[in-house]
Assembly symmetry: C2
Homo-oligomer: 306 residues x 2
């Protein structure tokens, strides 16, 4: 198997991971969570979102979180921004990088940001322009790259079109999200095959949800296509924790196990990630879905098995 020697993991637990949690999380707990993540060897943490608190009350303390965390120079602390107002708050809070987001499909884009795909571009263009003017790099999330809960399968060419528009604006990387976690390796392969006609592998990150248990299989397919950047969330946080297709982002610790066991370096300590996942699990008071956590939790026993 032809695989990259090194992979960068972008931890999205504090933002994409927590945004739909119903348990109110204190600012001090978020700060502690991020500080612990900062000690694991990660060099990129998406820590919050500067959306209007009306939309995501859980992240209303975005500016306070940024102010209170212990920042390390080796780490890029990023935040989502939906519009100019959010960007201004993010810049004021001295975030390192901002991320804009939209969907490849009309249905999800409409549901998520109440605009058509075409209407979204000028809004993001203004945000990206101002972010670049303020000296920030910009990441672009494209959601529903495999399928949309409203529109069905997404055509790879539609993802290419959206990515082209975002790169024209001046973003440095797109993260391709299988938002509802339906993707399988053949679909990921087809998507990347199309994407890599227009973009380099290093311009792309993959963002898998493990709703149907296919996330790690999709990671391996992406690796075989030369992709070296992956988003994940400790504990498998994220997604719609209370909804159909509950599983969230691929768990950072499960991804680390896979990569390390395949001889791929990440610079991140599995043990530290596991402990941080147990910490946030305790705060949330619900059992997180990652496989590595299940192993850590259980006691030794002996069984007859094939």
């Amino acid at each position: 198997m032809q695989l990259p020697k090194q992979v960068q993991i972008k931890e999205v637990g504090p933002c994409d991971g927590l945004q739909n949690e119903k348990t109110f999380i204190k600012t001090s707990d978020k700060v502690e969570f991020i500080n612990r993540l900062s000690e694991t060897g990660l060099d990129y943490i998406e820590i919050t979102s500067f959306v209007h608190p009306k939309w995501i009350p859980q992240l209303a303390d975005a500016a306070d979180v940024l102010k209170e965390i212990k920042r390390k120079h080796s780490i890029t602390y990023a935040a989502l921004v939906p519009n100019i107002r959010g960007l201004e708050r993010a810049i004021e809070a001295e975030v390192d990088e901002v991320s804009v987001f939209m969907s490849a499909s009309e249905g999800h884009n409409k549901a998520n940001i109440n605009k058509s795909v075409a209407e979204t571009f000028p809004i993001l263009k203004e945000v990206v322009n101002e972010a670049l003017a303020a000296g920030k790099t910009v990441r672009g999330y494209i959601s529903t790259v495999i399928a949309c809960p409203y529109d069905g399968y997404t055509q790879p060419k539609q993802v290419v079109r959206v990515a082209e528009k975002l790169f024209e604006m001046g973003i440095s990387e797109v993260s391709l999200g299988d938002t509802i976690g339906v993707g399988v390796p053949t679909q990921v392969d087809a998507l990347l095959s199309e994407m890599l006609k227009s973009f380099k592998a290093e311009q792309l990150a993959m963002h898998f949800h493990d709703t149907r248990g296919t996330a790690l299989a999709n990671v391996v397919t992406s690796l075989s296509r030369g992709i070296t950047k992956f988003d994940s969330a400790v504990g498998g946080l994220g997604g719609c924790p209370y909804a159909k297709g509950a599983a969230g982002n691929v768990a950072t610790e499960d991804l680390l196990y896979l990569l390390h066991e395949m001889g791929i370096e990440t610079g991140i300590a599995l043990e530290g990630i596991q402990q941080t996942a147990l910490f946030i699990e305790g705060i949330l008071g619900r059992t997180l879905s990652s496989k590595q956590l299940a192993i850590v939790r259980k006691e030794e026993d002996s069984c007859q098995t094939l």
Copy 2:
């Protein structure tokens, strides 16, 4: 991606899946479980084990289960046999196929059947001889093909040696088990690369446990190597449900989702498997780990997510 068009799934839920469950399951419930499985399109079901009841009390009713199930001609009903006494009981119960089992590693073989690998061969040879004389086909399970809980990593050449011995005895197929669910695609690829020097893909089945979430990734790697037979258990039954590394066999419904979505035919109805998984979950009174069941259980909801 080069993939086979059709795959055979061998359902091991009633045997490998239930053998370590602490909840006592009534014979009538096992019979109902198997009868429901028989209606899903499966053509192979491993239904019980003729080991001494002292070792696996849960399967002490092996003969009764075989007598009471509604058998379909299109389905091979198989059972494990550890020795001549077990084989005789299995033949008397008119099983269609028997399976013998041993480990590739000394440590697990010793722990599981209290013999060295070398000491195991003559015992199995006698069983296989008598089974073939009685007109039964014989399947051979090789456990710990990736790693052993006692001896660490298993050398692919050791798996080849054990498989050669089993095929010399006259078995028709080996099932290669990643018993403790530690395998990753590079290791599966290396194992199959070695195995396929000596054997044809159609002589091999893969038996993955999903302890670390890598089972489906390992399936995809196996498919790319031409493997067309996989063992799985509805609901992800099996493994050591109460032990470290809890997750059991790869769940049949998760495997079906992957295969069908990749355009690979199985002849099995996902819906029927899901319903049967819910049935046995109800009998066991514990939540099974499969992703498809989590989706079936949850209600629709809406979330902000990437």
